[in-house]
């Protein structure tokens, strides 16, 4: 197992505020890696830097040894790192199937000339098959023709992941995927993530649901006020004094 994705001295400053302060960690290929920390710790900002949404103030992001910091989001995506967003960010006006079809943009790159002449039938069929496959995986196929904006909150979160999954990513960055899901849905979704891992997809996960984090992750990185705090397996992190401290006597959260 090699160091697949590595973050080195990553720093993000917004004016006077240092949201992420010289953060370093490594994500192993094929693992589920958790990123935890209290609200405002800088987890989403870290995701935004890895995915290319923000350019880091300092530091590097290495993917298979290549420095990808400062690349645009679509350039990062084309290297196999695909993200979801913290809030249900979807194409609300489009149907569920169309949402998933946008997700197939990378494996089935649209070609305008072929589209006009009608020579892209193969690609369109392939894209639709992939989109349906992604929807089926996340249990959304029966909702294909619904407007994405009309879905329940839990289904919207699942659709966000289906859009990412449709692109055949190597790494998925999931920002609080279980928000808005009931315990039943959460459990089901955890099962799906284990299956993604079996498929060789690396998952980097931000989540507040500690039970889900502890149940899923191989490695957990904990951060607080933008800084690295601790790293280790679930048991280690659960019993780590600094982590418990960071959650402010929150042993009950970390339990």
């Amino acid at each position: 197992m090699s160091d697949f994705l590595e973050v080195r001295n990553l720093t993000m400053r917004f004016g006077g505020l240092t949201a992420v302060d010289s953060l370093s960690f490594k994500v192993e290929h094929g693992s589920i890696h958790g990123l935890i920390g209290p609200n405002g710790a800088g987890k989403t900002t870290t995701f935004n830097m890895i995915s290319g949404f923000y350019t880091p103030t300092e530091g590097q992001i290495l993917l298979r040894g290549e420095d990808i910091s400062g690349l645009k989001m679509h350039e990062v995506a084309r290297r196999g790192v695909v993200r979801t967003f913290q809030h249900s960010t979807l194409f609300a006006e489009l149907t569920v199937l169309e949402n998933a079809l946008v997700g197939t943009h990378m494996p089935f790159r649209p070609n305008i000339f072929a589209a006009i002449i009608g020579w892209d039938k193969e690609d369109r069929r392939g894209a639709e098959a992939r989109a349906r496959e992604a929807l089926e995986f996340f249990g959304l196929l029966h909702l294909s023709d619904e407007r994405a904006g009309d879905l329940s909150h839990g289904h919207q979160r699942a659709l966000g992941m289906a859009v990412a999954y449709a692109s055949h990513p190597d790494v998925i960055l999931l920002d609080e995927p279980f928000t808005g899901m009931n315990p039943e849905e959460t459990k089901h979704m955890m099962g799906l993530m284990r299956r993604l891992k079996e498929d060789g997809i690396t998952i980097l996960l931000v989540e507040h649901d500690m039970q889900a984090i502890m149940g899923l992750c191989d490695t957990i990185t904990c951060m607080s006020f933008g800084k690295f705090l601790a790293e280790g397996g679930p048991t280690e992190i659960r019993n780590h004094p600094a982590v418990i401290e960071a959650y402010l006597g929150g042993a009950r959260h970390v339990a």
Binding site: S51, F53, K72, M73, H74, A77, R78, V82, R83, T84, F85, T89, L90, F91, A92, E93, L94, E98, L101, V102, G103, H105, M106, F108, P110, N111, I112, A115, I116, G118, D120, D123, R124, A127, G149, D150, V163, A164, S167
Partner: protein, 325 residues
Amino acid sequence: MRNLLIFVLGSVALIALPYGLSFSQQEILVFLVINVLLVTSYRLMTLTGEWSLGHVVIMGVGAYASALYTKELGIYVPVSMILGAVTAALLAVLLSFPLFRMKGFYFLIGSFAAGEIIRLIWKRFREPFGGVRGISGIDPMPDFSIGIYQFDFFEPVSYYYFAGFIVIASLWVLWRIEKSPVGLTFHAVHWQDKLAQASGVNLRAYRTLAFAIASGFAGLAGALQAHYVGTVNPNSFDIEVMVFVLTWAIVGGTATFYGPILGCIVLTVLNEIVLREMGLEQARPLIYGAIMILSILFLPDGLESLVQKVTRRKSAPKPEEKAAT
């Protein structure tokens, strides 16, 4: 079978249409056909969410370019029309560099400014643009025969058939683009550009693509107009014309392909038949403004929403009103 029937009936109606009209009405019909292409190309641009105020000037770029290619270089008219369209598209690619640093309202103003600069250049340089008077004596489309029909371009009917054919072919291309994965990507860029980008979509490239295609077809519309009228000048592409295009698009509605076309046809008919008969032509900008405001207030989804209501009622006998959120 049913589609074939509609196609045949539609073609016959379009071919027979000019014979019920007076000479001046036939001329208006030619402009209507050209304007249908103009407003449909404008809609393609709006698919990515950007509204431009420079579209009519870009149409003028196609008109000027095609006129100059025939006049200065002696290029055969139909070829120069295509080159005029290509010129407009290429200029759009150039303009995209400064313009796509802006979004929304700023893009709107930026596109207006860019258009005014282009018009200023036309006015300022007598060589080759002819200054304020523009270019006149533009070569007409040369007559030709297709066996069953002799095209005589002194007749508006002939030009109507010629332009009609080109416009329908262009609409077909625009329709194919919109219904393709490229069209879906345009929608994606409009509704949620962050998520589109996270799915690997190069936002700049797709915005530029939509802008270039829309501009190319606007340029083609301009070339069709230039070789029909025989003159071009900076004032035939001023902001007043742009307001007409906006009014057609808004009154018709931009959610469907046919909305802007419907708006263009209905308002042209209203304008030419009703206003002209009543001698109110002078008040056209005023009346267009009033119509635009009224339609925003009382028909926010455009004429297309009326059509959708009717067709939906037909296809679904018991429509269950879905609560829109």
